[in-house]
Amino acid sequence: MGIGYTAGKPAGIMIQLFHVSKYYDRRPALSDINLLIEKGEFVLLMGPSGAGKTTLLKLLFGTERPDDGQILVQNRNVARLRASAIPYLRRTMGIVFQDFRLLPKKNVFENVALPLMVQGTSTFEIRRKVTEALKAVGVDHKKDQRPATLSAGEQQRVCIARAIVNSPIILLADEPTGNLDPHLSSEIIELFKVINARGTTIMVATHNPQVMAQANRRVLRLDQGKLVAD
């Protein structure tokens, strides 16, 4: 199987949040969030800085635990998952960051290969999947270069290649266009649309209205930790 999944109508539930709250120093970062995202959906998580977008993503990939409520991802309760099970949850997800988070001492190929390497994938499979992912995002000709030699847009593409190399069921992106100019932002959103069309559920956190306009998909609005519009 290649990258992503067969396109088709959304079928079944991918993410569910029940009365989820998260506090930092007794201040609510998220308050009583209820949410349902179906398989294959492309959802934009909008809101100003400090609205709780990043906190919500962190709860989904298990770097934070909710103080109240339950979170189901692929029918697994992330809120109650043992710490040792979290890495296996993350292997079914792809994560894209605003600051790319690429390893500066490794080349593009090695960076993209990282999720496969930690799973013990064979050398042959790593080569095949990484090449495929790099082609999908259009940076396969840069595979031997270090991240520092790439433009911001190329670095974000490498970051996306790393996120999709493992054929994730869900792709979570936190302000993926935050460091990019409007033209590059639009390229990245188009790339997400292609990935989504292959069946991957996508949630993009952004405060950029241009992204919302271009994506033209379901929008969840957060403000001061509360879900104010869906």
């Binding site: 890495p87 994560i95 930690v118 013990g120 064979s122 790593i126």
Partner: protein, 299 residues
């Protein structure tokens, strides 16, 4: 296999990127183990010397001059029946005089002046191995003095007991110095690994986010610690060997130590391996301590 190659490569990269801290960690482990090794060398060699001296322990049982032939025979039978006795040989008055003349030719004229042979007859006893401890020797010698015909019992008790006490102190010193320096070495290696962990904090975070398990993240650092420790152990062996050879070389030509240098031995192979193993264990422990602290801090 691919994953193991990756983990080994990562630990080697860590070592290469942190040359200075790596050198400090290796040097401190080598110093620790070398200090401990000096005590161990001293201890093992002295124990070897004592062991060979104990094999040679002879008890000389001097007899009364007026002891009759029957009395001599009875005493000989009685001594042969003792559990402590491994071998028993009789030295007559004449034999004692002949031995004296052979060993001290220049002093012989002193005895001639006395007219009659003043040296007593004696039995020379070598002890059975399990009765060679200083306490066993002391107890048996005390019992011998009560036997009929025995004038005096002589053995090198004090000297053996003193050596045993010195060895006990050396043993204690080795344990104390070894413990203190081991703790220091673990701390230094832990600091080295902590520096690496801090320098690679972002990388560790990325590995976590792409689904790396705790073991996958920790193994390169544990390997790094173990390699640093083992290299430190090897270096300490080289230092000890060099020092040992130099010491033997210094003893040799002086001739002041009655050939004691020929009794000195370096560590046998299995002890050398143990020292490298100890370095490896120190390094591994240092890494583990550091990873536990780092895990708590980044939790």
């Amino acid at each position: 296999m691919r994953r193991i190659a990756y983990l080994v490569k990562e630990s080697m990269t860590n070592i290469r990127l942190n040359r200075t801290t790596t050198l400090v960690a290796v040097a401190s482990t080598a110093f620790t183990l070398a200090c401990f090794g000096v005590f161990l060398l001293l201890y093992l060699n002295l124990r070897g010397v004592v062991s060979s001296l104990q094999d040679d322990i002879k008890i000389v049982v001097y007899l009364h001059d007026g002891l009759s032939g029957q009395g001599l025979s009875d005493l000989q039978q009685r001594l042969k029946g003792e559990r402590e006795v491994a071998t028993l040989s009789y030295v007559s008055k004449e034999q004692a005089l002949a031995d004296f003349r052979e060993q001290f030719p220049s002093e012989y004229h002193l005895l001639q002046g006395l007219g009659e042979n003043p040296l007593p007859a004696s039995f020379v006893v070598t002890l059975a191995p399990r009765f060679r401890s200083s306490e066993a020797v002391r107890q048996w010698a005390k019992r011998l003095t009560t036997m009929a015909g025995v004038a005096q019992v002589q053995y090198s008790r004090d000297w053996i007991e003193n050596l045993a006490t010195v060895i006990g102190f050396i043993e204690l010193g080795a344990v104390a110095v070894g413990s203190i320096l081991s703790a220091a070495s673990v701390t230094i290696i832990a600091s080295t690994i902590r520096l690496t962990l801090l320098a690679r904090r972002d990388e560790i975070e990325i590995l976590r986010l792409v689904g790396a398990t705790g073991a996958f993240i920790k193994v390169p650092y544990l390997l790094e610690g173990a390699v640093l420790g083992a290299v430190g152990g090897l270096l300490s062996l080289a230092i000890l060997r060099g020092g040992f050879d130099l010491f033997k070389l210094q003893l040799g030509p002086t001739g002041r130590f009655l050939g004691v240098e020929s009794w000195l031995n370096f560590f046998p192979g299995h002890v050398s391996l143990l020292i490298i193993g100890a370095g490896l264990a120190l390094g591994f422990t240092g890494s583990l301590v550091s990873l536990i602290q780092f895990g708590r801090a980044s939790a």
